[in-house]
Symmetry: C2
Subunit: 406 residues, 2 copies
């Protein structure tokens, strides 16, 4: 049995990346491959499919997984094994676990959008089914075939909501009526997607307690940026950059809006404060977690973000950066389609990844410049009509027009 603690720098592992064709999975796969790990990726292309169904697309023209793997082999000389299928498909997933014998599983393989989950009953059920049942399958197969494997699971800071006390990393010591205990930090998730991540966290914690699995649950902030060191090595390795209301994250969306002269759409008053991080830090955090595994039976939680901003702050930053490039950027406050506090206390701990050696890429003017330049470069691909929010948290039927043939 492998012990906890940092591995030597030259140590390489068999790594399975679920969702390895995605916005975070793809750069992670390349980085780990570049460092000599034996990497297999699993994907069922659901993000590509959802985009097709709704007539949306990545701002950047991304290639098929097959072509991406070819390009990666061309520049690195390294093979990425791939398995096409869904983790909800138990027979498929069991075969993958048996064949790849992973020492670490990086689990990005979930439906990742809050608005997607809130659009209607069908998509809510799809989200909780895919995420909860898929992860439950994984836990059983790790227990059966790879009990020593380290499960690195991507969760979200959105699991916590916005409590009026400091947010700790997964657990909190509670003093109550003269006694005390350290218990899971209470959660107040803000969408049915965020709830699916809470359900996952609870199931994974249980599997560690009962079966002795080991897992790191990374409660990640909102990710921005699109470029990592490996992506720059070949045009065929370009990463996804979503800007539509369903899959676009706030800062990426603002940059696209600035590039086409669309007002930056801030939901409500804009005092909503969240943790944010650069995509390069996502990849580095996952690597740090993997190289410093917990003990068997241990379930640990890291809050994975580097800075806190309000949505209003972000819009102001994009406005300033746009002005330097000669763009005239306005900020527009829309009625908030979500149900959330628009002014609130927010102070979340995030020291455990720093303790492992994370050196954050803080949000800088040059990063904003580069994001705006990417948006300008691809501006002919921007579809303005998919940016504005149509999914209202309060309504159960929010159907976007779908392509008749999708």
């Amino acid at each position: 049995m492998r012990r906890a603690g940092r591995y030597p720098a030259a140590f390489t592992m068999r790594v399975l990346i679920l969702g390895g064709d995605g916005y975070l999975g793809w750069p992670t796969a390349m980085r780990f491959s570049a460092r000599g790990h034996e990497v297999s990726v699993v994907d069922n292309f659901s993000r590509r499919h959802w985009h097709e169904k709704h007539g949306t697309d990545s701002l950047t023209p991304i290639r098929s997984l097959e072509k991406r793997r070819e390009a990666w082999k061309e520049v690195s000389g390294k093979e990425l094994a791939s398995y096409v299928g869904a983790i909800e498909d138990a027979e498929f997933l069991e075969r993958v676990i048996i064949e790849t014998r992973p020492e670490a599983v990086i689990h990005y393989g979930e439906q990742p959008s809050a608005p997607y989950s809130m659009a209607n009953r069908e998509q809510a059920v799809e989200t909780q089914y895919t995420n909860v049942i898929g992860t439950l399958n994984l836990l059983f197969f790790l227990r059966d075939h790879a009990p020593d494997c380290h499960l690195v699971k991507l969760g979200t800071m959105g699991e916590y909501g916005t409590p009026n006390i400091d947010i700790e990393e997964g657990f909190i010591e509670i003093e109550h009526k003269g006694r005390s205990d350290t218990l899971p930090f209470p959660k107040l998730p803000g969408s049915l997607y965020h709830l699916s991540k809470v359900h996952d966290s609870n199931n994974i914690h249980f599997a560690c307690r009962i079966w002795g699995l080991r897992s790191t649950d990374l409660n990640q902030g909102v990710v921005y940026g699109t470029i990592t060191e490996e992506i720059q090595r070949h045009p065929g390795l370009i990463n996804r950059f979503d800007y539509d209301e369903i899959f676009g994250t706030a800062l990426n969306r603002f940059c696209v809006q600035a590039a086409i002269g669309h007002p930056l759409t801030v939901y409500g008053r804009g005092g909503q404060t969240r943790g944010f991080l650069d995509v390069r830090d996502t990849v580095r955090c996952v690597e740090l977690a993997m190289l410093n595994p917990p003990e068997r039976g241990e379930y640990r939680v890291f809050n994975q973000f580097t800075e806190q901003f309000s949505v209003g702050d972000l819009a102001e930053k994009v406005k300033v950066a746009g002005a330097k490039l000669g763009l005239r950027v306005e900020v527009q406050h829309l009625p908030n389609p979500r149900v959330e506090r628009e002014e609130h206390y927010y102070n979340a701990a995030h020291t455990r990844l720093l303790d492992l050696g994370l050196q954050p890429h803080l949000l800088s003017d040059s990063l904003l410049d580069s994001l705006l330049e990417i948006a300008l470069q691809h501006r002919t691909r921007i579809r303005e009509d998919v940016i504005l929010p149509r999914v209202d948290w309060r309504a159960t039927h929010n159907r976007r027009p779908t392509r008749p043939d999708a």
Copy 2:
């Protein structure tokens, strides 16, 4: 919109009971029907099916739902409407909600066994799928078609686990680093079944916060007993009494073991302490919750039990009661198939139902006598080989022999 607060005694409602053919659903249906409510029951007979598949059965010979409804009409003159189908079947459930226009939904319609959920991956997935997705369907259809309806949901005290602090009713005020907030009580559920109830609680709380639904989540203790006032009115109304390792609850199982001279099987040291209640109090608690609904948007939690006992205490009580009837009862400590603390602090609040007027039926010698007499009366139906635990929490494959034709 209906206001919160107690209804007048003569007030009657349209009530939909999910799982209305079950151990708790059936006596609830009769009681509410007797009080003049307009009662519809939904069931897909999954408990009957699971028993058939595993070659087990209720100790008491129960009739089909159709025959039960006929017997109830015979003694009461009242009709119980019935819908046969699964709440996971969205089309079915939506039709039921539209047709019955419920003012209250009593939701017992879930897979209720911890050992069932821990037997293997297939049953774990079935449990979380049935319970979580079924309840999610229900929340959407209430939102769409009956937003004023009061959802009375059966949860379990097992959602909390055994923390080292007092367990409160759903929420706890936490003081932390000079600030404070009232947040959901942290949960440490002990099986994948218990986890499904935690997932449900989180989803329901969300639906109340976001959509303004109203719900009472009843975190129920372990139920014992089988008879209510209405059941005694006709032999055809007899209630289920499970004693097998999968669906039998501890006290019922001990009485059956005593009746056939089998040692009472206490798992581990027997210091596991839980809340318990009489089935008559289950029915009364659900009625009190229904007659005193929360406001729109309110999610409240009542801990529904009347007394705390350790499993060892219960075994001793059955031993003493058996001796009075001339039975020679031994207590046997088995290796614990579950992963749980066997000696622990346990003190759970349960005042909110008492505040609404609950007058508990505490566990008495006469109740124990009556349970033992029922077990003796039906002793020829007892199958000794289904009592001992075969589902081990630590193993992922626990297959009971199944009937080849099931």
